[in-house]
């Protein structure tokens, strides 16, 4: 691959407020196996950021690294001026980051209600207003709150997973391929929900293979390949970049 890496930090368009997440020179991987090399990334308050890239590029790994789920090998992750590198997931959640993993993301044997309660496990009590907010955003969840999550359809499960991550009203939500495997109508609905959440003030960092749609909707995008930064720009700009289209978006 070409090596015309655009330094991620330099060209950050200042679209939103304060810097929320700041990843610098991150090296990470699994066990001794390094996947990410020298990755930089920023998310600002209320911003909607998308990561795209080929399979195995390390997109999910980056998400997991932010969330303290990989072996840290170098670099820093800062969240709201605080260094969160190497913290455990439950501590990071406490700081206001929510994460929806790629697949297998509901507790199949628990009811919808219990799944949501688990989302607020670190609090002493279930926050009623947050629960109401989630139910308001995803009415289907309130309808089905006694149902075992495992018996819900794929799309409903995806919403439940998102609802659970919203229970702590995070200021940053990490979404790993929220539309994967969804039928077209649900894909649209899902993207709409994400827009809504973002508009309500939550910053989004999302990985998507449905790259065109994702880049169309987001504020800013990153292209990751081979565990390294490749490009970053506003979503539309990336979408229109000939090189990016050719190499990563299937023309």
């Amino acid at each position: 691959m070409s090596s015309d890496t655009t330094a991620a930090t330099d060209s950050t368009p200042d679209v939103a407020g304060e810097e929320l997440l700041r990843v610098r020179n991150l090296d990470a991987g699994y066990g001794d196996l390094q996947i990410l090399t020298d990755v930089d990334m920023d998310v600002h308050d209320g911003e909607y950021v998308t990561i795209v890239g080929p399979n195995g590029a390390g997109k999910s790994t980056l998400m997991k690294s932010v969330f303290g789920l990989t072996s840290h090998m170098g670099g820093t992750v800062t969240f709201e001026t605080e260094d969160i590198t190497g913290l455990r997931p439950e501590e990071i959640i406490h700081k206001g980051v929510g994460y929806v993993p790629q697949n297998d993301n509901v507790f199949a044997a628990l009811t919808v209600q219990e799944n949501l309660e688990m989302g607020a496990y670190i609090l002493d009590e279930v926050p009623q207003d947050a629960l109401d907010m989630v139910f308001e955003r995803f009415p289907i969840l309130e309808e089905r709150k006694g149902q075992k999550a495992g018996t819900m359809s794929g799309g409903q499960q995806q919403m439940l997973a998102m609802g659970r991550a919203l229970m702590l009203e995070p200021s940053l939500l990490l979404l790993d391929e929220p539309s994967a495997g969804l039928a077209p109508d649900l894909v649209d609905e899902m993207f709409d929900k994400i827009d809504e959440i973002n508009e309500a003030g939550t910053a989004i960092l999302m990985v998507e293979q449905n790259a065109k749609e994702a880049l169309r909707r987001c504020d800013r995008g990153y292209v990751l390949a081979n565990g390294e930064n490749r490009y970053t720009d506003s979503g539309r700009a990336l979408l229109n970049d000939e090189q990016v289209r050719q190499d990563f978006l299937g023309g």
Binding site: F67, L69, R88, P89, E90, I93, H94, Y99, P101, D104, N105, V106, F107, A108, A109, L110, E114, E117, M118, G119, Y121, I122, R164, L168
Partner: protein, 368 residues
């Protein structure tokens, strides 16, 4: 519901579940044989009563000891072969306490701490029992639970935690290593002889038509303790956040971690609850049968496995129900087959149920 419908349902059942049908048939056959025996006076009702009672007691011990195993099995995802030796360790710690409290000043302290190793002091001579030395017994019970908690936390910390992410088989093999080390360490310290631990407990007879079933105070203690603990654990897991977190972890551990459930803390809680129950079970096992040897837990372990699997891994009701089935099978089977096959019969029942219902009687009902 019409007759035709009943018939067709029955037919469908027969076609779908031939195994279950055969089982039911065998069950009816055995029951018939028993009834004939009772009717002709060949089998005494009181004998059957005694066997049932014995089976119930065994079942309670197995069920109580099975809860801890079932919890670690479902939440930590491996079959812990060291569980039997946790039972023994709990029993030794608790009984050392009981001996010391009951025998202080009457016997050499070393002999008491070693639970009368080498026949140096007898539980019977010290008059140990729920009626004779109730405080010593209760203290022993508590120490057994506490010690086993500490032991299992320590073992987890040193041995299981570093390989937590490995697959269940790796952990299983490791637990076999733990079992060996623990068991023979206990033999090294406490010696290999079996000792009697209690005085004859007072008993009373319940009269049936042609005789009586004897029930003693230790049986009743077992019923009370086992029943209370089972209820307590049930409430704990149903009513508290911890219980839900455990079920969540049993369901999907990775997801639990990213949801912010402090998984290591939950694991510790599992060991605390499971270990406590295990230690108490070990103590009660010895109180009930009245003897203690370094091999006790291990010899019980396979039956516990049978019970847990039979009941459905992760289900507390399942562990109890499985325990009762296994206990009753081991006890009652002598009505039909030679006593040498009693244990074998329990295993056969387990295998048969696994084949008919591979996920156990109470499957799909995690931790409750």
């Amino acid at each position: 519901m019409g007759i035709a419908e009943t018939y067709s349902r029955g037919r469908r059942f027969a076609v779908d579940r031939p195994g279950a049908l055969i089982l039911a048939f065998v069950g009816v056959l055995l029951l018939g044989d028993l009834l004939v025996g009772l009717a002709t006076g060949q089998t005494a009702l009181s004998d059957v009563g005694s066997l049932v009672w014995d089976g119930l007691m065994r079942g309670l011990v197995i069920g109580l000891a099975g809860i801890g195993l079932s919890m670690t099995y479902s939440i930590l995802n491996f079959a812990n072969f060291a569980h039997g030796d946790f039972i023994t360790a709990g029993a030794f710690s608790g009984w050392a306490t009981t001996y010391v409290l009951a025998g202080l000043g009457r016997a050499d302290i070393g002999a008491l701490v070693l639970v009368g190793a080498g026949g140096s002091v007898f539980g019977g001579t010290l008059g140990i029992g729920i009626t004779g030395t109730p405080l010593a017994v209760i203290a022993g019970l508590l120490v057994a639970g506490a010690f086993t908690i500490v032991l299992s936390l320590a073992v987890d910390r040193a041995i299981f935690r570093p390989i937590r992410d490995e697959d269940g088989i790796t952990l299983l093999i490791t637990s076999i290593g733990v079992a060996f080390a623990l068991r023979y360490m206990m033999q090294f310290v406490f010696g290999s002889n079996v000792r009697g631990t209690t005085a004859q407990p007072p008993s009373f007879a319940v009269y049936l038509l042609d005789g009586a079933v004897r029930i003693n105070m230790h049986d009743l203690t077992l019923v009370v303790v086992a029943g209370g603990l089972m209820l307590g654990v049930h409430l704990l897991l149903q009513r508290t956040k911890l219980g839900k977190a455990m079920r969540a972890m049993a369901d999907n551990e990775d997801l639990a971690r990213v949801t912010g459930i402090p998984t290591e803390r939950v694991v510790r809680s599992v060991w605390v609850i499971g270990g406590g129950l295990t230690g108490v079970a070990g103590y009660m096992f010895v109180l009930w049968k009245g003897t203690l040897g370094f091999n006790d837990g291990w010899l019980l372990l396979l039956l516990i496995f049978a019970a847990v699997i039979l009941g459905g891994i992760g289900s507390i009701y399942g562990a109890i129900a499985g325990g009762l089935v296994i206990g009753l099978t081991a006890s009652l089977s002598v009505l039909w087959i030679p006593s040498a096959f009693a244990r074998a019969a329990a295993f056969v029942v387990m295998i048969v149920i696994l084949l008919v219902k591979p996920s156990g009687l109470f499957s799909g009902r995690s931790t409750a």
